[in-house]
Each structure stands twice: as structure tokens, then as C-alpha cells.
Symmetry: C2
Subunit: 277 residues, 2 copies
Amino acid sequence: MTYCVGIEVNEGLVFAADTRTSASFDDVRVYRKMHVFEWPGDRVFVIMSAGNLATTQLTISRLQRDADDPDATRSLRTFSHLYEVAEYVGDTLVASQVKMKDEAQQSGVNVQSTLILGGQIAGERPGLYMVYPLGNCIATSPETPYLQIGESKYGKPILDRIIRPETSLEDAARCALVSLDSTIRSNLSVGMPVDMALLRSGDLKISQKMRLEADTPLYAEIHDTWSRKLEAAVHSLPRFPWEPPQEREDVPGPLPAMPPRRIPSRQDPGDAQGQQQ
Amino acid sequence: MTYCVGIEVNEGLVFAADTRTSASFDDVRVYRKMHVFEWPGDRVFVIMSAGNLATTQLTISRLQRDADDPDATRSLRTFSHLYEVAEYVGDTLVASQVKMKDEAQQSGVNVQSTLILGGQIAGERPGLYMVYPLGNCIATSPETPYLQIGESKYGKPILDRIIRPETSLEDAARCALVSLDSTIRSNLSVGMPVDMALLRSGDLKISQKMRLEADTPLYAEIHDTWSRKLEAAVHSLPRFPWEPPQEREDVPGPLPAMPPRRIPSRQDPGDAQGQQQ
């Protein structure tokens, strides 16, 4: 499995991807799922992939071959609009699947892949597309400013609650890391390390790029402190009618890791031999 | 679809369930999925259900019939241990599915249901079980203090991060409501109103019970403010190396709904005719 998320905000694009591939529980490997194609000052693209690894690698190789060929009529370098690039990447994906399909005929292997393509061409705003296995694609919109591929459910609520076009690029990146961390925690088939790239509108190159391991200080701190921050947030939600009013509200400093019990727990009346012992 | 969550903390049990049933997109109804069986001072049980509605209703009706029969040898009133109740509820569930299966043979309808059973019998600690369609069941543990049925993925990360045995009953209830709200927001097949019940250890009756509509003030406030609290939490996560240090940390009062941009957004160099317009 896989989890990749692309976010488009006014300031630019954020890409984040895990690196775990698995053919089965005992065949787990690390592969980069984030691929960068960069011609600084002219154009920059990031492609993330979920699905069949062989299909993805063939697609990326073909895109690279075309880009390296000065005589190619269609390549990442030849188009002047991002939607044309998305169409071309979709065509390349379909062609790669067709080749795989011929070779893997009757084997029952799913050779499909799904891609997220984002980037910017000089003269245009940045853009973000999901390229489906059929080769067609959809873009983000102000109401839906992010796209996910792979195991998307665990990491979706945080994106739904936070990401808007006005969100800063760095807050969007922090949100993407929380989204990844939640998914990695809940699903064994999504794993560290995490690749992240930021593309600030107008830079026309990758503005920031990093690989985060579990012990990278930034990631470790997010992983370690997010639960505590959530706990403080839950604790600060409205009281129930039967509860005493909250003693401490909006006080300076972090809330304690474990909020004090406001209602003393009652003792069990009976023995300690119940089935929960 | 459905989403129900049961939580066991040291102080007691929390139950929360949505009420939407759907046979298809255009056959959506409201049904109670939380059923209470209460003999105050002696025993109290809560059963929540996901899956085939007819199977669930038959199971609940049979449990009620047995409980109302003073001569019944096996009923919710006859056992002295909760795990025996779980076994009996499992048997009743399997019998209900068998009857349905005979009637719905060859129709392709899935007649299975999955239940969450929680409660307390005098002399025991409260307990919480998931009853599978096969009739077997699993209990919570200190490391896994909650159980979910139905559309569980969207609402799982918040539970994983927050719920521990030491969490207060009310914080667990607030967490359950956030978990429900996240799921309702992300999945059309899970819908309002929400039923919630709290069972404080030793009360031997339902301590608190409520139905929350979308405009119930408590729920509406959680729904409205949770995104803002999350946003403040994301914003307070560690800075990236290239960011200036955070100007305002742990200041009193709520953070603004939209944190100020710390890095001015760059203007697009080119025209405004890109495909993102």
C-alpha cells in the first residue's frame, strides 16, 4: 500500500509520500514514490505514485527518456500548459499499463497505478492533478485543495478540517506530516521514511525537499507531541451539562499531558475477579 | 453504512453511534443503532450494531423477549458474568443470521451484523466486547481501550492518539463525538443525529444518555470549533529549519482562526490565464 498527499494553497504546493511497498506481509521494501523533474527557472514537476511498482517505474523511465530526447515532440519539456502535461503523463501511464497487461496476462496481477502530478510552468500558476489509471485526470479546486492516493482515509479528516487556499505553505506541510503520521500509525502497509517537497509559487524549482526518518528531530517531535496537543484540544471542548465549569481556560503555557480528573472515579462495588482483570 | 464506537476507561464506558441506514443513495433512513437494557442496581447493557438492519432488529427483539420471560434459562438477566452475556448475544446473533440466510437464500444480500456489547453486572467491573458475525467476540484491553464497528477509518486516529485507561469519562465522550463528527464529515453513509450514553463504573445504570442533533449546542460547538483548535495545534508544531522562529508561543487566549502568514506569498511571474483560473 501507499499513502501520498498533494496540497495546493495560494502560496504553492506541498507533496508528501511514504516509501513502503509491500507484495505481502513478508515482502516489504523501501522505494521512493516521489519523483522530481526540474528545469529551474522554466518548469518543475513532482509525480507521486500508488499502485503497481513496475508500472510506475516504467512510466517514470519513459517520462525521463522523452525529457532527455531533444527531438521528442511530446515531453515534459515541450508543453506550455500544465493540463497538457497531465494529459501526456496520463497517456504514458496508460501505455505502460498496456505493456504490463500483455506481459502479465492471466496472472491476476493488478498492473494499474494512480499518480499525483503537480508543478509549475513559467507563465502559469502552480497546479495539482490526480491522474487515474484510465489516463484521465482531475485538478484541485478551492473547495478541494488537496488530493490523496493510496490509503487515504486515516489521514483525511485533518486535511478536511485545516487545509484552505489561505493556509500558509508551512502549515500545510505540517498538516501533511500529521496526516502521514496518523496513517503510518494506523496502517502497517504505510511506512517511514517520508519524502516531502515544497514548491513555492514562482520559484520554478523545488523550494524545499527533505527525507524524514522516524528519528529526524522535526518528525520525532511532531510524532511525540501531536497526541498531547490533541488531548489539550479535546479537553478544551465544551463541557457537558452535568460537568462543573472548566477551571482553567486559555491559560498560558502548555496543558499538562494528562488533564487532572475533574470527577473522582468511583470504586467498583464488587470483587476484583471480573473478566476484565 | 454505520459508525459506532465504544470506549472503556477506568471511570467507565462511553458509547456513541450514528443513526443513518442506507440501502442505496436514494434509500436513506434514520434508525437507532444503540439499544439499552437496564435493570438499575443489578445490571445494565448497551448494544450497538452495524450491518444488516433486519438481522439486528431480530437479534434485539429476541434478546428482549428472553429478558421479559421469567422462565427463560438464558437471558440478559440470568448470567452473572459479562463474558457469558457476550457469548449468549453471539449465539442469538448467529441464530438470527441463520434464519435470515434461509429466507434470503440466493438473493446475494449480506445478512451479517457486527455488534458492540458493553455493560456491567453487579460484582464485576464494566466490560466492552465486539461480537462478530460468527458469534465469537473480543474484549478491550488497556492497550486497545476502544472498539469500532462500521466505517471506522476516519475516526480512528483521534482515538489512537487520545484514549488511554486514565482518560476521564467526559474527555473520552468528547473524543468520541469528535471521532463521529470526523466520520460524518468524510462519509455520506454516516449521519446525524448521534446517540451517546455514558456508563460510570459502579452506577449500574445508564449515567448519562443523550441524542445530539446537528443543532444541539454542544455538538454544534464541537463541530464549529474543532477545526480551529486543530489549526492552532498544527500551527504550534515545530518550525521548519528555514522558517523564522515562532513569534507567539503559548500566548493566552485563543489563536486567531487563520494564523497570519509569516512568509509573504510571492507573486506569480506570469499571466493569469493558467489552467487553474
